[in-house]
């Protein structure tokens, strides 16, 4: 071996780097979905919002040359998608899960249609901060090249947890999510809170999409997400509706996703399909181990349509 190879150290390094690189879309989508679900509504359409956000951000970045304008544009369309979902769900006898699936298909289809001409042009990428400047190893420097959106997502997770527990807005959100009747008795309009919560959730999910198309892997095509938006919605349940839990679960999924390629690169080559399934198997095991037939899932908002 020569000095450019780091051998088996590549595996933990790849898991760390993968956790940072791959997790950001999971963080934003799951934080957005946490806000929506804490208000008592499920938006399954975030996969569509994610992909539409990715397309919008890429298209705006190509046209204007500014990736940050792309992120801002993605937030606007993401909020619009959330508003549509929230508005339809205000109508009586509407099932939010069915609307979510419809919005997902709508978002995917519209993104494919409008994004046709942006597959080929290259957009400017979002900047990253070289936290690995102290290291002489190029591998470590590359792994610690951290995108600002990842840092924003991490900060947001902790801020959200604090806000849910300690602010009036957080209390309002929790009351609406736990009991529609109690919220009404307090003089809160549950529909309005849920509408806003779904819009914010959509805006967050679209930022996740912007990260995909403008940083990593950094290209727009129709297979860019391959289901990450749906997985992030499931992560919320896995994380028990806790923003910091969402952040950690996203890191876990990101790191586990890097495991397969990293193991192959050090010569563990058989059964790579199994390693690729690792994050899903892990989720299943944890879900089964922590669920019980005698009590509801801890942390679940009481007004969520899943519990009714």
């Amino acid at each position: 071996m020569d000095d450019t190879a780091i051998g088996l150290w590549g595996v933990p390094l790849a898991i760390l780097a993968g956790a940072i690189r791959v997790s950001t879309p999971f963080i934003f989508v799951s934080l957005g979905e946490t806000i929506t679900e804490r208000s008592g509504r499920i938006n399954l359409g975030l996969e569509g919002t994610l992909v539409f956000g990715a397309m919008t951000a890429y298209a705006i970045a190509v046209v204007t040359g500014s990736p940050w304008l792309g992120v801002a544009g993605a937030m606007v369309v993401g909020a619009a998608f959330g508003l549509v979902h929230g508005f339809i769900c205000r109508l009586p006898k509407v099932n939010d899960i069915a609307i979510g699936i419809a919005m997902m298909q709508f978002g995917l289809g519209l993104a494919f249609f409008l994004g046709k001409s942006y597959i080929q042009p290259a957009a400017p990428h979002l900047p990253s901060i070289p936290f690995g400047f102290w290291s002489g190893l190029p591998q470590v420097r590359a792994a610690l090249d951290i995108n600002v959106l990842f840092l924003a997502g991490a900060a947001l997770a902790f801020a959200l947890r604090w806000a849910l527990a300690n602010t009036r807005l957080g209390l309002t959100l929790r009351v609406v999510g736990d009991s529609t009747d109690a919220a009404r008795a307090m003089g809160i309009n549950p529909d309005r809170v849920r509408l806003v919560a779904t819009a914010i959730g959509g805006a967050f999910a679209a930022v996740g999409g912007a990260y995909l198309s403008l940083y990593y892997p950094g290209a727009w095509n129709e297979g860019i997400s391959s289901g990450q938006g749906l997985m992030a919605v499931a992560l919320v349940i896995f994380a028990r509706w806790n923003p910091v839990g969402c952040f950690l679960a996203a890191l876990l999924f990101g790191g586990a996703g890097a495991l397969g390629p990293a193991l192959q690169s050090v010569g563990v080559t058989s059964g790579y399909y199994l390693f690729y399934a690792a994050p899903y198997a892990l989720t299943l095991v944890i879900m089964i181990a922590t669920s019980s037939p005698n009590r509801p899932v801890p942390g679940m908002p009481g007004a969520l349509s899943l519990t009714k």
Partner: protein, 375 residues
Amino acid sequence: MIDRFSLNRRRFLQTTATGLLAGAVPGLASGRAFAAGGLTVGFVYVGPKDDYGYNQAHAEGAAAVKALEGVTVVEEENVPETVDVQKTMESMINLDGATLLFPTSFGYFDPHVLAVAAKYPDIQFRHCGGLWQAGKHPENVGSYFGYIHQGQYLNGIAAGYATKSKKIGFVAAKPIPQVLQNLNAFLLGARSVDPAITCQVIFTGEWSLAVKEAEAVNALVDQGADVITCHVDSPKVVVQTAAGRGAFVCGYHADQSPLAPDKYLTGAEWAWGNVYTDFVKKALAGEKLGNFVRGGLKDGFVKMSPLGPAVSAEARNRFEATLAEIMKTKYSVFKGPLKDNKGNEVITAGAAYPEDAIELESMDYLVEGVVGSAS
């Protein structure tokens, strides 16, 4: 006014008789279409046709056909390998009047192309890949494919001169014979420059998985690989990520040099324009189309991207000399004695498999020097 649209008995009989006549004499209606100078050709793609990859290569071929006189081209993108492709082909036949169809994706063949071909025996279908078999499959179907592993061998020569770490990397989708041929040829090309070079392979398991492909490139570069190539549907992510990490890249399917102008060495590209033009010219002349069409660099089925600025003069000479040799004769990239990476001899000394050798179509091993496993 009213009279023009009312249906009197005479007009009714006239129109019905014409319709019946056209129906009763097959070929009358289509014969007239031909006389008016029309051949409609349909192309079906599995992904977007500007993906810098597999589909773009086919769409560039379709564009060459469009330029021919008397030819109308109909195309549809993003058609999944499901019953959807049957609907697409049927609508091209019935609504657009297409009489020659190119369903380009591997998974379209069985059962979709076979089902539609049985229903429309007068329509010609040509499928990209090696799946059509004489005697077993209908005669109005056929296959075409190219010996692109020769291009990956040339990629390997460019990579062999460019690598400093003596480690090169390959991002592969699935361990099928066509992918393994490319992977093995890439390393053999590099080893013809320096036998100490090894090639690390990472299989992603799917034809198009952007995030996993990017992770694979990062893992390869972390392990010291400094020239990367791939066999996935859209090499865009691989090329961009590798160049971003400072590695050299060799392209595949189409020309990706605009994505990494400084790091792009060369690339193995399809030249479907020649193949499609040939098919369509034969169809226009009323000749029988071939059912089993194959070719390599020499036959114009495959071409190389122009060499990039990072290719040294020494590498350029070797590259051009080998290319000239491939253009002259049936070139054997795979020749004995050759061992696989488990130490078994797979080609005995003295044996050589030229481009059209049937043994290559069932390749299931990785040659000595490839780090990885095909299963």
